[in-house]
């Protein structure tokens, strides 16, 4: 991870999706471990082949080797999602789980 925004697959092309065929997913649980104390700025975008239609931004804070969890609940189903991160260089180990039903 570095200062230039890139997605979780290390793609810097802003139109490239991180994952597709996600229309059935109602919520994403993004969990992982930070590599340093520096905060991580993230943006999650939802859309389709015609472009991005929704986005949510935030910051992941915490100590080095600290666990984090980000819950993303898009307002509508989207086929494509792009998860972008930026910040001081650090290794980020994380996973994203999608679920088809949400409680709240």
């Amino acid at each position: 991870m570095e200062a230039t925004p890139k997605d979780m697959l290390d793609q810097s092309e802003p139109l490239a999706p991180t994952f597709v065929n996600a229309a059935s997913v109602r919520a994403f649980y993004w969990t992982g471990v930070k590599g340093s104390d520096a905060p991580i700025a993230y943006t999650v975008r939802g859309g389709n082949a015609n472009g991005w239609q929704w986005s949510q931004s935030g910051q992941i804070v915490g100590n080095a080797r600290g666990w984090f969890r980000v819950v993303v609940k898009p307002p509508a189903p989207y086929d494509w999602y792009r998860v972008e991160v930026a910040g001081a260089p650090q290794a980020l180990r994380s996973k994203i789980t999608g679920v088809a039903e949400v409680a709240e």
Partner: protein, 171 residues
């Protein structure tokens, strides 16, 4: 064509087994992240018993399984579950005063934790009269593994189970 009388269970087994050929399965790229991915999904919700047994509580933080090895999970393969519940009761005539805490972590496709340590989810003190049931709802679902620890200043035997549910009750 002949008819035969079978049970509903037998019919379900045949429905599940019959259409799946070994050749077709062999050509599919299958990546199982955890054992839970193999569990069937029933509408509108699915409940699983993840653990059930007896825990000898003492002054050390112990997993419900009895160990004090902090790297070991109490339950695994919990990725699909929205909620976990811990229910049980403690033997003995004295009032129950047991501390509990819940830790969680995520693992990669091979089952190795993404990082060291755990994320603390919450802690509580179970205080009930003797031989009374308790129930704790674990707030954060969808972690891959949980470690549920208990301790008690007075040694107690706790009988309990951990259940998990996915999908939501239609009310």
């Amino acid at each position: 064509m002949s008819a035969e009388r079978i049970t509903r269970r037998e019919m379900l087994k045949r429905l599940v087994v019959a259409p799946v050929g070994a050749a077709a399965l062999a050509t599919l790229p299958v990546h199982e992240g955890s054992a839970a991915a193999l569990q069937p999904y029933y509408e509108p919700y699915f409940v699983a018993v993840l653990w059930e047994g007896r825990t000898r509580c003492d002054s050390l933080w112990r997993s419900l399984k009895g160990d004090v090895v902090a790297i070991l999970p109490t339950v695994q393969g919990t990725t699909p579950y929205d909620r976990l519940y811990w229910t049980g009761y403690a033997l003995g005539r004295a009032p129950v005063n047991v501390n509990m805490r819940v830790l969680a972590r995520a693992v990669d496709l091979s089952g190795a934790p993404l990082g060291s340590g755990w994320r603390p989810i919450g802690q509580a003190t179970i205080q009930t009269p003797p031989m009374r049931w308790f129930r704790v709802e674990i707030p954060e679902g969808h972690w891959d593994e949980y470690r549920i620890e208990v301790r008690s200043a007075t040694p107690r035997l706790v009988y309990s189970r951990v259940i998990a549910s996915q999908g939501y009750w239609k009310e």
